[in-house]
């Protein structure tokens, strides 16, 4: 668990981070979002003491980070940056095995761990172990970066715009893989990005920052439904907010049981998003879809009228809460 309470960072007269209070529960994925220079990277770097905070408390697993030896602290926190952070003079295996080596693991254990992680991240050992960073594509280099951060099995993972330099297709692929990895490993993650879609896709907890302050934080759905001010609203896409919210909602949450009427022609699997369902309705010129399970058996129905009405209800219940 990571807790920041009233944390500030001043560089001379300049205040980079201003009185931030933030709590990331164990196993949760927290995304810090904001325009460049808003202090999100500084906040991240204060957690592993690459930058020392000026005031406030940063508490890691119940202990202030000032009580840790900075070097030992960093070795138990995984850190991922853009692909330029790999060591160009070391091959992939050596890059990944760095922290275990620093922690003086036995050589056989390091080799085993490196090979395990390369398997997890889809880097065949025979093909990649002896390649150097400059021989890798951006996506491959970033996989190595993630593997290196995970090498010593840290509980906490800090990621500083890890996918920022990748092309959109590779980026989406790696985002999916990271989401899958997280659902298996349950690390406590703090993720910095300026890409709101990326944050919405991955985060359990969303923190919007501006000029060193937190403007709003909460679950992605909560922010989409009620942005605190026009800035957050514009970051979330303004008019696109409805569709973004739909993208985060599963079909199965809005499905009704099959009625007596004739089932609709178009079929959609339960684990698709509401956004995909809406798109299908537009494509097929219909306002009803038949929901099917993995075996393509109809199990329910989705109607446009219901989706719209329930979105309204969600909003009302939020306001009441």
């Amino acid at each position: 668990m990571i807790e920041l309470s009233h944390v500030s960072k001043r560089f001379g007269d300049e205040t980079a981070v201003d009185d931030i209070t933030l709590r990331v529960a164990k196993g949760k994925f927290c995304a810090l979002v904001g325009t460049s220079g808003c202090g999100k990277s500084t906040t991240l770097r204060m957690i592993n003491r690459l930058i020392e905070h000026s005031s406030g408390d940063i508490i890691l697993d119940g202990q202030s980070i000032e009580q840790y030896d900075p070097v030992k602290l960093r070795r138990r926190i995984g850190y991922v940056i853009q692909s330029t952070g790999l060591f160009p003079h070391w091959n992939v295996a050596r890059n990944i095995g760095l922290v275990p080596r620093l922690l003086k693991w036995p050589a056989t254990e390091i080799t085993a761990r490196v090979e395990e992680l390369m398997g997890v991240l889809g880097l065949p050992v025979g093909e990649f172990a002896h390649k150097y960073p400059h021989q890798l594509s951006g996506g491959q280099a970033q996989r190595v970066g993630v593997a290196r951060a995970l090498a010593a099995d840290p509980d906490i993972l800090l990621m500083d715009e890890p996918f920022g330099a990748l092309d959109p297709i590779t980026r989406e692929k790696l985002q999916d893989e990271l989401a899958k990895l997280q659902s298996r490993l349950h690390k406590t993650v703090v993720f910095v990005t300026h890409d709101m879609d990326e944050a919405l896709r991955l985060a359990d907890h969303l923190v919007v920052m501006r000029d060193g302050r937190i403007v709003q934080q909460g679950s992605p759905l909560a922010l989409l439904q009620q942005p605190a001010d026009p800035f957050v609203d514009s970051l979330l896409g303004g008019l696109e907010r409805g569709l973004k919210q739909a993208a985060l909602t599963r079909v199965k949450d809005h499905m009704t049981s099959l009625g007596p009427t004739l089932p609709a022609q178009s079929r959609i699997p339960t684990d698709f998003s509401l956004r995909q369902a809406l798109s299908m309705m537009l494509r097929d010129h219909c306002d009803r879809l038949t929901v099917v399970d993995q075996n393509d058996m109809p199990i329910g129905e989705l109607s446009l009228r219901r989706i719209v009405k329930e979105a309204q209800l969600d909003k009302v219940s939020q306001r009441d809460a």
């Binding site: 690459l50 070097v71 952070g85 060591f87 760095l98 960073p133």
Partner: protein
């Protein structure tokens, strides 16, 4: 635009014809100098200036024709360049280099009077020019064929071995060989001294340079002072520096018995080494400092974030990443030191410079060559060797 415009026109085709102008020019220079300058000279003894002979007198019409044909073949192949033609040119150049000592043999046989034991054959301007231009051709071919540093070195070593064999067995009347035979033990001694002086000077300045560069990184104020001082040292002419060291070192040698026991005196190895190290420090420190500073900040930040301690970051990340640039510095320093050590002969430090200054004193140009040629070869060898080492140490064979 009509379809006709899109078709390749004859004008375009003519413009796409690119002769290799470098090789064309160089072959022209070789052809001209072979016919215009003297190829060899013959002197009755080592002091008298010899009589010059042109290409026809030296190697006869058949020889002159053969050489001219080889040069013209290079020119012809260079007008329509292709990888195959470049390889053919490389072959011709190697053939020419191999034939050159045989040309000297023929000239020696015809022109030198066998009944005069002091008579000798000197190498003329045309010969040197052709040799130099052939090496330039090799540089051009290395680029065009994308050869590594090793290939030309290997080729030249092989040709050098052939030359050495010819010189030892059949070129007894060549002035250079006569100078060598008159003092061969001295020669080997001088080569050894030269290499020892260069190695010690470069070795010490590598260690000192690294230490200084590391200190400069820690104390920014030192950086300005040190660079100012080293730049100043570099501007003193080498002879003047030797002279400046003469008095204080002589005094130290005379007054401090312990230093005298270490061999420190006004002349000899001590002042030579001190001056050589002083000159070597600037390129060494400058390159080391730049190499260490140039390492990417992001990589170092990553190393810190992974939990590497200061020493680990330096020795495992900064230093190995700086090594190729640092070795470039060692290369520059070593090549410079090979040349400077020649001057050290003036203050009795020995080395190949001895022959240069003795030869100058006796007006015997061939003896000057006996000192200068090995220095040149030594410099080229150091350059190629350290350059290849730097290439090999680039991270993961990266260019």
């Amino acid at each position: 635009m009509s379809l006709i415009d899109a078709l390749p026109s004859p004008a375009l085709r003519r413009r796409s014809w690119h002769p290799n102008s470098v090789l064309l020019c160089l072959s022209g220079v070789m052809l001209a100098s072979a016919w215009l300058f003297s190829l060899v000279s013959v002197a009755p003894n080592r002091i008298v200036t010899g009589t010059s002979f042109g290409i026809v007198d030296a190697i006869g019409w058949p020889g002159a024709a053969l050489i001219s044909m080889l040069f013209m073949a290079i020119a012809a192949l260079a007008t329509v360049p292709s990888q195959g033609h470049y390889r053919a040119i490389l072959g011709i150049i190697m053939l020419t280099l191999l034939l050159m000592p045989f040309g000297l043999m023929v000239a020696g046989h015809w022109l030198v009077d066998a009944s005069m034991p002091q008579a000798r054959l000197g190498i003329g301007a045309a010969y040197w020019t052709v040799l130099f231009v052939l090496l330039l051709c090799l540089v051009e071919l290395r680029l065009r064929l994308g050869l590594s540093r090793w290939w030309p070195t290997l080729i030249l070593s092989a040709i050098g071995a052939v030359w050495w064999g010819c010189a030892a067995l059949w070129l007894g009347n060549l002035a250079l060989v006569q100078e060598f035979q008159a003092r061969d033990t001295q020669f080997y001694q001088a080569v050894k001294q030269h290499i020892a002086l260069v190695s010690i000077a470069v070795g010490v300045s590598v260690v000192l340079g690294l230490l200084l560069a590391m200190l400069m990184r820690r104390y920014q104020r030192l950086q300005k002072v040190a660079f100012a001082l080293l730049n100043f040292l570099q501007t003193i002419p080498s002879l003047a520096l030797f002279g400046l060291l003469l008095a204080p070192l002589a005094w130290l040698g005379a007054n401090v018995p312990m230093l005298a026991a270490l061999g420190i005196s006004g002349i000899g190895n001590a002042p030579a080494l001190i001056a050589l190290i002083a000159y070597s420090l600037l390129p060494m420190v400058r390159n080391t400092y730049i190499a260490l500073e140039e390492v990417s900040v992001e990589t170092l930040q990553a190393a810190k974030a992974m939990g590497m301690r200061t020493g680990q970051r330096f020795w495992q990340v900064r230093f190995p990443l700086a090594l190729p640039v640092l070795l470039e510095g060692v290369r520059i320093t070593a090549v410079q030191a090979v040349g400077l050590t020649a001057v050290a002969a003036l203050i009795g430090a020995g080395g190949l410079g001895t022959f240069i200054f003795q030869g100058l004193g006796q007006a015997a140009m061939d003896m000057v060559l006996l000192g200068a040629l090995p220095i040149l070869i030594l410099a080229l060898m150091v350059d190629a060797g350290l350059g290849a080492l730097a290439d090999a140490l680039r991270p993961g064979g990266q260019e």
